[in-house]
Amino acid sequence: MRLAYTEDQELFRDTVRDFLADRCTTADVRAAWAADTAISARWVELAKVGVTGIVIPEEHDGLGMGDEELAAVLVEAGRAALPEPLLESAVAAGLLAEFAPDAGWLAEIAAGRAAASVLLPGQRLAVEAAAADVLVIGLADGDLHVATPADCVLTARRSVDRSRKLFTVDFTPTARTLVASDTRRALARAADRGALGAAAQLLGLTRRMLDITVEYAKQRVQRGVPIGSHQSVQHHLANVLIKLEFARPVVLRAAYSLARDLPSAGRDVSMAKIYAGEAADLAARNCLQVHGAIGYTEEHDLQLFMKRAWALGTAWGDAGVHRDRIAADLLGDAPAPPTPAF
């Protein structure tokens, strides 16, 4: 029994963290807000660190890793509010690896020469659908298509987080784009990977908002004392930390379960999304409150992380969707009594 990353996993994660601290500053995030696409020169650099190829098999020049490593890296992406569609590209790559490994995209993505995005059944918005080189589209009937933006009519939509370049996708399936049928199970698994990845980013976002605010509460003096010495401020921030510390192992366990396709994986992922979402939601609210008006400005960096948190709280199934799934599992008609998840 060991609920922690391995040393190798931690080493990889730390490399990514260092890279992002250097190459994804808040100025960089702001630059992505202003650009048409958030996919920048950094994509190739991320590929060099191995990040774009985490779930791509080694025979296609990827790292051949899985959900645990992806989650570990996405925590760092959240901490930095990395604008690139790392998660979406990984979800797409996973489906490509399973159903279209020889279409030529995998090595391109692993090398950072291409980026992918994805649209799964039930989703109507795709991130970076215009700038992505390849779009993996799963339909409700289980058909899986591999398309390019040129195959679709795209309508740009504006997210609260301007670095998320969203599009509604009007796609007409053709025999040319079809790569597999009966992929419902794989599509559901891909959705779980998306939810897990969002949860991981939400952990990183929570940590960053908390760090920013603790620093502010130490420095900001009012009536002669730092505001961090007020009990209400202390309790606001302690509550965020409690939420974060309890969400962290829940996300870790979900990565473990999903990586091994355990029977509880779906429920575990849903729980991860809920817990990380609640932590980020509370962080946004309490950190804004501790900052006061200065946190309410676009000039302050806090907003970059708050807005990403709100967007990711909604994306990949919000709390209601995931709560429904857990409730069906725990309270539904299935006769099995609930058992510990491991």
Partner: protein, 380 residues
């Protein structure tokens, strides 16, 4: 108890509803914090004024209808029910005007109220300062006597001034007695933002628009005629105004009842049972807020005062408003993150987030409730 409206009040409601139905723009105006939207909102204020709906509770001579509190609440209900534009002149007519009515000279009232009511001059509050935090007694901006020109020279810095980017005039406190501490030695000034020495730095808010500004004053001359009330008596005058800001006037129940009803419609169009209880909660809270307000009106009409009760009010509406909008975003599912979505819910959410912060943070409000209403000893 009597929870009926009088025939006169009902007639007032019908009249307001008819006018609003006929006149509220079909398309939302652009944000009042853009240059274009600022002009459009001022034009709307003018339209309201011309039909005598801009300042219903004011005296007739200044464009009002001398409406009582209940009628004012009715008007607000109808206004928000109709989805009418936000009030760009809000800080003037709701926040500053009550003070001007109470402490201004007749000459000052005549000079400023008509243009304020007509949306010609937009007023901007000058309360907070960068180092003063939420404690207004820490004001450092100062006014030095200029006997020669018969007035004062103002220097300093104000921040978080809503509408400051495009507004015309500022009201606020400046220290006239440099030797005095805290809430003594402060004077209430009215400042022309076009005057020499004024620099305005727009500050973009969460929604990206410069809804507030930082105002720098460098030796700005203000004539004696623009001192409100007595010199060094600014604190007590300001208190009267913040009473309005935090109390009944600014946050009419109509502001919450209307979106709560829209939330019900949203749910009925596309029910998500997982959010059912949150939707019911939002509606109930808006309804409870309406009842609470009518209770306050009853008290006021019996000669009572609001006092520290306004802190109870402020905590409740500001937290309810955040929850209401957060619930709407959850109902929208995947579309909840869209800023160009239907219904303006995201804008409403971002706006609501300011509620627990401004006009005295909710932490300070809770201290006030504990100390001034419950009588607990002062917080350390």
């Amino acid at each position: 108890m009597d929870l009926e409206f009088t025939e006169q009040e009902q007639e007032f409601r019908r009249e307001a509803r008819a006018w609003l139905t006929a006149n509220v723009p079909a398309e939302p105006l652009p944000s009042m914090d853009t240059r274009e939207g600022f002009l459009a909102h001022r034009a709307w204020e003018r339209k309201l004024f011309d039909a005598r709906w801009a300042v219903v509770s004011w005296p007739r001579e200044y464009g009002g209808r001398e409406a009582g509190l209940t009628e004012w609440l009715i008007f607000e209900e109808e206004y928000y029910r109709a989805g009418a534009p936000g009030r760009v002149s809000q800080n003037g007519i709701f926040l500053f005007a009550p003070t001007l009515f109470e402490f201004g000279t007749r000459e000052q009232q005549d000079r400023y109220l008509p243009a304020m009511a007509a949306g010609e001059e937009i007023w901007v509050q000058g309360w907070s300062e960068p180092e003063a935090g939420s404690d207004l007694a820490n004001v450092r901006s100062r006014a030095e006597r200029d006997e020669e020109r018969g007035g004062w020279r103002l220097s300093g810095q104000k921040i978080w001034s809503s509408r400051g980017t495009y507004g015309h005039r500022l009201f606020g406190l400046f220290r006239t007695d440099p030797g005095a501490q805290r809430h003594r030695g402060l004077t209430y000034f009215m400042v022309d933002l076009a005057a020499e020495g004024v620099t305005v730095r727009p500050i973009p808010q969460l929604d990206g628009e410069p809804g507030f500004a930082e105002v720098f004053l460098d030796d700005v001359f203000v004539p004696d005629a623009d001192v409100l009330g007595g010199v060094d008596e600014g604190w007590k005058i300001m208190i009267a105004t913040t009473g309005s800001e935090r109390g009944l006037n600014l946050r009419s129940p109509g502001r919450f009842v209307a979106p709560a009803n829209r939330l019900i419609e949203l749910y009925r169009r596309d029910p998500r049972p997982a959010e059912r209880d949150a939707v019911v909660r939002a509606w109930m809270d808006a309804d409870a807020y309406r009842l609470f307000t009518f209770g306050t009106v009853t008290k006021l009409q019996a000669g009572g005062a609001i006092g520290a009760d306004s802190s109870i009010n402020k905590v409740f509406w500001s937290e309810m408003d955040v929850e209401l909008h957060a619930t709407a975003l959850r109902l929208l599912g995947e579309a909840g993150e869209l800023d160009d979505g239907d219904g303006g819910w995201l804008d409403g959410f971002l706006f609501a987030l300011g509620g627990p912060i401004y006009a005295g943070t909710n932490e300070i409000q809770r201290n006030t409730i504990a100390e001034r209403i419950l009588g607990l000893p002062r917080a350390k």
